[in-house]
């Protein structure tokens, strides 16, 4: 298994707005700790799931990977090359090979361009095919995502949510990427439509040998379609391992709670016992030590003091927990 993208100690913080009162009292500016010291490998050909609840930093991480955000610290190596140092043509080449599919297919497509123009623009900017071949390539892309050829002449508003997401995927595929980062690509869709888009991702991956980073809050999807999964909590990865094994026997208390909290589509599991108590802490002031300790049934003095390190537990399985 070769490493395609190596993420090391990636950190991204966003300065919070300071109130006038804070300014007058000379309080320091606070920062949202969106992504903290994340290290993760993306292997060639795999589907890597990144899961977590809102504010855990999964979308910020995704945007750092395609350089929509510049990380404050850490490194990013794509096939050995330092991504953060890339400039000009080299950076464009990286963006060609690493493409993003966004959550909301309504706002990520230009409403004034026809689908054909959107796809042709990507083909033209990255000079993927000679100008004369663009119409044929547009049709081939529409075939790939199972849209009719007449879609090329229509504008995004004429399509349903599921079809729009197919257009978003076709746009990402236009530049022949090796790695696709998909940020909640099916969350805005109805259940009956979701399945078709999930199938499309799996089919394209098998046909084109793509590597896929699939970011979602939906654990059922992650369990179904990913090879490995990384669980994030408050900006950090708390556990990463092979999907089937991790879901069968999660080791981090947060992963355990998260999996228990997902309602199963099977009747007869009714209890009144919640999987985990408490709320997500503010990323402005993450708790000292392990960020999960205020909600964790196993927490002790060490957890309240020291940030646990993500370390190997055998079988390509890493856990960041003092107790597990």
């Amino acid at each position: 298994m070769t490493v395609m993208l190596a993420i090391r100690n990636l950190t991204r913080r966003f300065p919070a707005r300071r109130s006038l009162a804070d300014l007058l009292r000379g309080r320091p500016r606070q920062a949202v700790h969106a992504v903290e010291q994340v290290s993760l490998d993306v292997h060639r050909g795999e589907t890597l799931g990144i899961v977590g609840e809102s504010g855990c930093g999964k979308s910020t991480l995704a945007r750092c990977l395609v350089r929509l955000h510049t990380p404050d610290a850490g490194s990013l190596a794509f096939e050995g090359a330092d991504v953060l140092a890339l400039e000009g043509p080299a950076r464009r080449a990286y963006n060609r090979r690493v493409q993003m599919v966004f959550q909301d297919p309504y706002s990520s497509l230009n409403p004034r361009l026809t689908v054909g123009e959107t796809l042709a623009e990507a083909l033209h900017v990255h000079a993927i095919v000679p100008k004369a071949d663009i119409p044929a390539r547009v049709r081939a892309l529409l075939d790939l995502v199972h849209l009719p050829h007449d879609a090329a002449a229509r504008r995004p508003h004429e399509f349903s949510g599921g079809q729009r997401q197919r257009i978003g995927i076709a746009r990402a595929l236009a530049v022949e990427p090796h790695l696709i980062i998909a940020d909640e690509p099916v969350s805005a869709l109805d259940v009956s439509v979701q399945a078709a888009i999930v199938n499309l991702f799996m089919e394209l991956q098998d046909r084109l040998g793509l590597t896929l980073v699939f970011i979602t809050h939906d654990l059922r999807l992650v369990r179904h379609m990913t090879h490995r999964v990384a669980v994030m909590y408050l900006g950090r990865i708390v556990e990463v391992g092979p999907t089937a094994a991790l879901f069968a026997a999660p080791r981090h208390p947060y992963t355990q709670a998260l999996i228990r909290a997902v309602p199963q589509v099977k009747p007869g599991r009714r209890t009144t016992e919640a999987a985990v108590i408490g709320e997500l802490p503010s990323p402005l002031e993450p708790p000292p030590g392990c960020a999960f300790h205020p909600r964790c049934p196993l927490a002790d003095a060490t957890c309240r003091r020291d940030i646990p390190v993500l370390e190997g537990r055998g079988g390509a399985w890493d856990v960041a927990c003092h107790q597990a």
């Binding site: 609840e53 809102s54 349903s160 599921g162 109805d190 259940v191 009956s192 439509v193 979701q194 399945a195 078709a196 999930v198 199938n199 799996m202 089919e203 809050h217 654990l219 059922r220 999807l221 369990r223 179904h224 379609m225 999907t243 089937a244 709670a257 998260l258 228990r260 909290a261 997902v262 309602p263 199963q264 589509v265 099977k266 009747p267 007869g268 599991r269 009714r270 209890t271 009144t272 016992e273 919640a274 999987a275 985990v276 108590i277 709320e279 997500l280």
Partner: protein, 325 residues
């Protein structure tokens, strides 16, 4: 005897582009202490059905049919009586607590409004009751929290506060419209478990509207499946999930991840969700259905008993494959 009886409910919105039949002949009942789930995709009419019960729809909605509450028709009773039922005996919790709560009033005052309207308690007793209610829904340091405003609460805490307001007058029926859809999964789990505990402890009935089959499976006694403003199927959660008798329910359950082996292709429902502004003659699901026959496209299937306590509106009910347990 059932607490709530909805018979042939129809809701039509008049819009600039013509009438939209959002709810099209829906009948169901809710027994005392029961948890009924209404499930459907966007545009299925599930939320409109829920809001039509206590007459919470806008003026452009024309509602017909009867909604009987303990035998009395809510839609024909005098406004004065309806006001006593609404908030007093039937309370509602909405999806987005930030837009349902009044942002300029402290939470305590919003609870107090309900207590003033529906109880005879004096000021001090109302304050004690408000503290008690916040404690009941799991809000820590309730005395301090009473004087805070909605923006000082987190999403989960706001939904707890909404539930506290709804419970203030000790209603017999709680209507919850996607109460956990805006929340994270661990918080959703806490809120659903809270609702179940309240149902058990207070002997309340609950109607829960959701798009999530998992939420239905783990929370409800009975389920009503809606599609294009119509009721497809009603029955116990156990029967509907294990032996669905409507082709739509069957297809919906089959499309869920986790049914087959890991990375096996899912079984999507072909086509697009229906447009309710263009009603169909036969079964609304017919264009997407893999069990469709001629009759389905011409004649609307009636909702009939297919087994004890299990009703379905599907000509293919007997032909549906049995799902593996």
């Amino acid at each position: 005897m059932s607490l709530l009886d909805v018979v042939d409910l129809r809701v039509t919105f008049s819009t600039p582009r013509g009438p939209v039949h959002a709810v099209d002949g829906v009948s169901f009942c809710v027994a005392s202490g029961e948890v009924l789930g209404i499930v459907g995709e966007s545009g299925s009419g599930k939320s409109v059905t829920l809001r039509a019960i206590p007459k919470l729809l806008h003026a452009n909605a024309a509602v017909t049919g009867t909604v009987r509450w303990r035998g009395a028709d809510l839609h024909t009773m005098p406004a004065e009586d309806l006001r006593r039922v609404r908030g007093g005996q039937i309370a509602t919790v909405f999806q987005e607590p930030m837009s349902a709560l009044n942002p300029v009033l402290p939470i305590g005052l919003q609870i107090d409004e309900v207590l003033t309207a529906h109880t005879t308690l004096d000021t001090a007793a109302r304050r004690r009751r408000a503290v008690e209610l916040l404690g009941l829904v799991g809000i820590a340091s309730p005395t301090t929290r009473l004087d805070q405003f909605p923006h000082e609460f987190s999403g989960g805490m706001r939904q707890r506060a909404m539930i506290a307001i709804a419970l203030a007058a000790a209603p017999a029926l709680l209507l919850a419209d996607e109460p956990t859809t805006a929340l994270d999964v661990t918080i959703q789990d806490q809120i659903l478990k809270l609702l179940l505990r309240l149902v058990a402890d207070l002997g309340m009935s609950l109607v829960l509207v959701t798009h999530d089959l998992g939420v239905i499976a783990e929370t409800c006694d009975r389920v009503a499946v809606m599609y294009a403003g119509r009721l497809c199927e009603t029955g116990s959660v156990h029967n509907v999930f294990l032996r669905p008798q409507h082709a739509y329910t069957h297809a919906l359950l089959r499309s869920m991840p986790g049914e087959g082996a890991a990375r096996a292709m899912l079984v999507p429902i072909p086509g697009q969700p229906p447009r309710i502004d263009r009603p169909t003659a036969g079964c609304a699901f017919a264009p997407r259905c893999s069990f469709v026959e001629d009759l389905c496209t011409t004649t609307r299937p009636p909702l009939i008993d297919v087994a004890p306590q299990h009703r379905s509106a599907c000509y293919a009910a007997a032909r549906l494959p049995v799902r593996a347990a």
